[in-house]
Amino acid sequence: MRNSAMAWLRNRYPLTLGSIAALAISWNIYVALNNDGIITGRAVTTDQQPVGGATVVLSERSLLVAVPKGRATTNEKGEFRFTGHTLHHLYLEAHKEGGGRMPPKEFRLYFKGQNLFLEKPLVLEESK
């Protein structure tokens, strides 16, 4: 009885379909644990100095235009944070009055609302 059950489990049909099901369940668990919609990062100058008080704009590109979805202001360490976004293809841009700007930068995610912790800071350049 046990041997026949083991043989059935080793059959390519349950093995393949079971693997696909396991993969789908694992992926959904991963998504559920990482879809808080948090985006965190830092804004710095070209010489890596934190930029406080800069405005970071989160936007989504539609067919023709970029639609703003949120704004955040950096603290004195240059850190910013968005929560509750529901995008999978987004743009971040930053600017500060008299402190330069960073043009929109594209970020692509694997699912909507995926948490994004930017390893590289947004670099604001002085406009010439």
């Binding site: 393949t16 694997y110 699912f111």
Partner: protein
């Protein structure tokens, strides 16, 4: 008998197989990199591969809904094909008046393309009030003549003495098919499953004709809708193609041994 080395044939087969795989690899590569077909220099392997085009497809259209629709229709088609084709195949192994004419009729019907019968098929489906339904989508492919002949060949390969013994034991005809012929015709069943699944899965014209509701659309219809929604189509379009192809491919790879056996059953019969 002189034994010739096998390696030259294997080498040629390997080359031909690789050649046949090139279009598929090309689609896969484009779905991972978005490289246009005209990009220069051409590359067989993707540069900077990523899966974001698959994500775009998933969210741009209701992919899961289309997948479920296609799966439901395919399950109906596969189940109906096994039931109806096995019954018809068994009938063709029996002797009855005008059997030859019936076989000729079946064979001649195979030569009529579906496009020719689409208007009567539509009118019948409308009369049955099955427009815009799963059953309506499945109806024209619920039985296919090729698969009837696959079952016929498979049933004919089973020793007649087995059927005679069952009949002596008092088994009715439907139980002979269910209890004796079908368990011995796994390869024919696999062939039916694969062919019916692929035909149903790739069916575009019939669902296009009878489906009005966007929620009822299947994957091939979703592909045409996708083309109208997405601006930069190259990578996402190819990703969509891979996502549509994958279930059929997995099914074929799983059952290919039985599929080939099913198609060749009775081929060597004298």
């Amino acid at each position: 008998m002189r034994q010739y080395p096998h390696w030259p044939i294997h080498l040629i087969l390997l080359f031909v197989s690789a050649l046949m795989l090139v279009p598929f690899i090309w689609v896969l590569k484009t779905s991972l990199s978005g490289e246009n077909i005209f990009s220069y220099p051409p590359a067989l392997f993707p540069r900077d591969p990523h899966l974001f085009y698959y994500v775009d497809v998933w969210y741009t259209i209701p992919f899961l809904r289309y997948l479920v629709n296609s799966a439901v229709v395919s399950v109906i088609v596969v189940a109906a094909n096994i039931v109806f084709n096995s019954m018809a195949g068994y009938a063709l192994t029996r002797n009855f008046p005008a059997k030859r004419a019936m076989i000729l009729l079946f064979l001649s019907c195979m030569m009529i393309p579906f496009q020719v019968t689409i208007i009567p098929a539509y009118l019948i489906t409308k009369k049955l009030a099955l427009l815009n339904s799963y059953l309506g989508m499945a109806l024209p492919v619920c039985s296919t003549i090729i698969c009837i002949f696959v079952f016929k060949a498979s049933f004919e390969a089973i020793p007649k003495s087995l059927i005679d013994a069952a009949r002596i034991d008092g088994l009715p005809e439907w139980r002979i098919v269910l209890r004796i012929l079908l368990p011995l015709s796994k390869s024919a069943i696999a062939t039916n499953v694969i062919l019916a699944f692929i035909w149903s899965w790739n069916n575009f014209l019939w669902p296009l004709v009878i489906i009005r509701d966007q929620e009822m659309q299947t994957l091939p219809l979703g592909l045409s809708r996708f083309l109208t929604v997405v601006e930069d189509t190259t990578g996402a379009l190819y990703a969509f193609c891979i996502m549509v192809l994958l279930p059929g491919l997995i099914l074929f790879l799983l059952a290919q041994k039985e599929f080939i056996a099913g198609l060749t059953t009775g081929a060597a019969k004298g």
